[in-house]
Symmetry: C2
Subunit: 346 residues, 2 copies
DNA sequence: CTGTTAGCGCCTTCAT
DNA sequence: ATGAAGGCGCTAACAG
């Protein structure tokens, strides 16, 4: 059995029937007797037959492939999401092509082209920090290829999204700090073209308002939220004319950068300044308990988005109704940083 | 231009030539006049023609798809490697199917089946902790589908590998600790069916020998190296009849678990006990400088392995000569934990 | 150099 | 319930 080259015709010839019957049997059509079906399936098994998807897909002009675009695969949130995508996709008989935009719009545009060339049946995407509009997604619309935004989306006409409730999480984070007695809470915010950062900011503002804390514009520090930005933010923060006692960071990396710097300056955390940060990386769980995190359910996001996308693919080009699913992140205040690193689906 | 349905026949008809000429031109064959080539390319561009890979691949009976099997996508080492795989693969015109074994042999076996069914042109794999032999890879061998192990391999007959020099790294790590004045160095080792752990252990033993330090069997603690194992190891370590002053951990997660526990017990790091750990996760870079890490070049591993695999695919079933490439990891002693988190290709 | 012919392996009308 | 026939879109002989 050198090179598996068995086709439906081989089976047909051996069984002295037509290949179309074999094809039907293999597809479990109800227009074949159970008896012949059994016979065919048995022979197929015996010969080690494997359907040639290339041929099948060509005929059906479907690829059973999904495209996934993320800013960066190795970000924990995204690799977890991808894990969820893969799992769901395979269960439903789809393959997945994964691409990274590296936060560049130009690359994102090219990737869309590649995915079109590969005739994917649908696309999942989390846009880059540079992405403001979705002109580069027109090709998908034109060819009726459904796509679903996850985590980072574009706030535009009827698209499907699977998002985290950033507003609520921002509110909870701020409320948590207020509950700890913080009076002057700085917010490390991200690029405002991304909805997630807008919403986290909104949550922050709401909490201040409800708890009747005066809002000061200079307490909002916007950056791209890399670790070095956290350090810079921390420096800025120390020069403010208020005694800062809380930080709500829109991600954990910047939060950690800031914490490192502040500790070097002899500031105690959380005694002097309490910190809450969105958790993109598992690091947050391992750093000392002084960082309270908002954990994002990456795996679940991936699963949910994939399920939604595939359902849209199945609906077909009929009446692609857009849908937005919002998942809840969890505020986690650690008593101890010792938690099971391997647990769950991470 | 509703649904892009332009084929080479359309172009041929419009230009009043044969579709085979169009095909040749599109494939940049040297058996077409430059003039007609230009004409065809221009028209193709104008009509927005895109080659149908399904048809092309069916005809050539190649999928231009690689399978990648890793224990877990969201592990930083693997997601970095995958990033490298993707980049290289796309450049060479290949797609990538990514699968997770979740450290289970059974899943690994199934995945191989799936990849075979998908007719991948080659496979990259990093075996699960449960994988002892490679019976489940027979299918690949039989059908002459080349595969390359990366990072975690099976030490068996002529296969291709892209590995890290674990022996040397283990030696360096131990030497580093000895250089710090450590006399009693514990080694947290991993499952011995994996070569990587065997080799790290060998490096440890060699360094002890060369520096004339007595080897004690009870200083080697074997586990699956999860965080909780690190804690357990730390407990064991404190009960040893020697004053332990150094730990060489075969991964960072266990190292961190141990460090957390030891610090709770009032032990100072690195003053009382110095720790060196292999770095699978970026966390190691952010945890305080007390953990010296051995950084593994995941991205480069991915790139290298892919290049090797594709070259084997191109060589064809002729004389698939196996090759092993060994990359050097870096021992990184941090002065400050503040390093650029976003840098490089992570 | 270009055209003709013949499939790759499968699925799907259309007959019977 | 099964068979016959054609074609998805492309490529690779083989001619000329």
């Amino acid at each position: 059995m050198e090179n598996n080259k068995i086709t439906i015709h081989d089976i047909a010839r051996i069984l002295k029937i037509d290949s179309s019957t074999v094809s039907r049997a293999l597809n479990d059509s109800d227009r074949v007797t159970q008896k012949t079906k059994d016979k065919i399936l048995a022979k197929a098994q015996e010969l080690g037959y494997q359907r040639n998807h290339l041929a099948s897909n060509l005929r059906k002009s479907k690829t059973y492939t999904l495209g996934v675009i993320v800013p960066r695969i190795s970000r924990h949130l995204f690799s977890s999401a991808i894990a969820g995508v893969e799992e769901t996709a395979y269960k439903m008989g789809y393959n997945v092509i994964i691409c990274q935009s590296l936060e560049q719009l130009e690359r994102e545009r090219n990737i869309v082209g590649t995915l079109l060339a590969n005739r994917v049946d649908g696309v999942l995407l989390s846009v880059s920090m540079e992405t403001i509009n979705y002109d580069h997604l027109q090709g998908l619309k034109q060819r009726n290829i459904p796509f679903v935004f996850f985590d980072r989306h574009c706030n535009i006409s009827d698209n499907s999204n699977v998002l985290i409730d950033d507003y609520q999480a921002g509110f909870d984070a701020t409320e948590h700090l207020i509950g700890q007695g913080c009076k002057h809470i700085v917010h490390f915010s991200g690029p405002q073209n991304l909805e997630i950062y807008k919403n986290r900011l909104k949550g922050y503002l709401s909490a201040l308002q409800i708890y009747d804390i005066e809002f000061r514009k200079d307490l909002i520090i916007e950056s791209r939220l890399m670790e070095i930005d956290g350090v810079e933010n921390a420096k800025l923060l120390l020069e403010l004319p208020y005694k800062i006692d809380g930080i709500f960071s829109a991600n954990d990396i910047a939060a950690i950068g800031a914490m490192q710097y502040l500790k070097q300056q002899g500031i105690r955390i959380p005694e002097d300044i309490a910190v809450v940060g969105f958790s993109n990386e598992p690091i947050s769980a391992l750093i000392e308990p002084s960082l309270t995190t908002i954990d994002q359910p990456g795996f679940k996001i991936g699963k949910t988005a994939t399920t939604l996308l595939i359902s849209q693919i199945h609906e077909g080009a009929t009446k692609m109704k857009s849908e937005t699913i919002i998942l809840k992140p969890n505020l986690i205040e650690r008593k101890s940083s010792l938690r099971k690193f391997e647990s769950g689906n991470y």
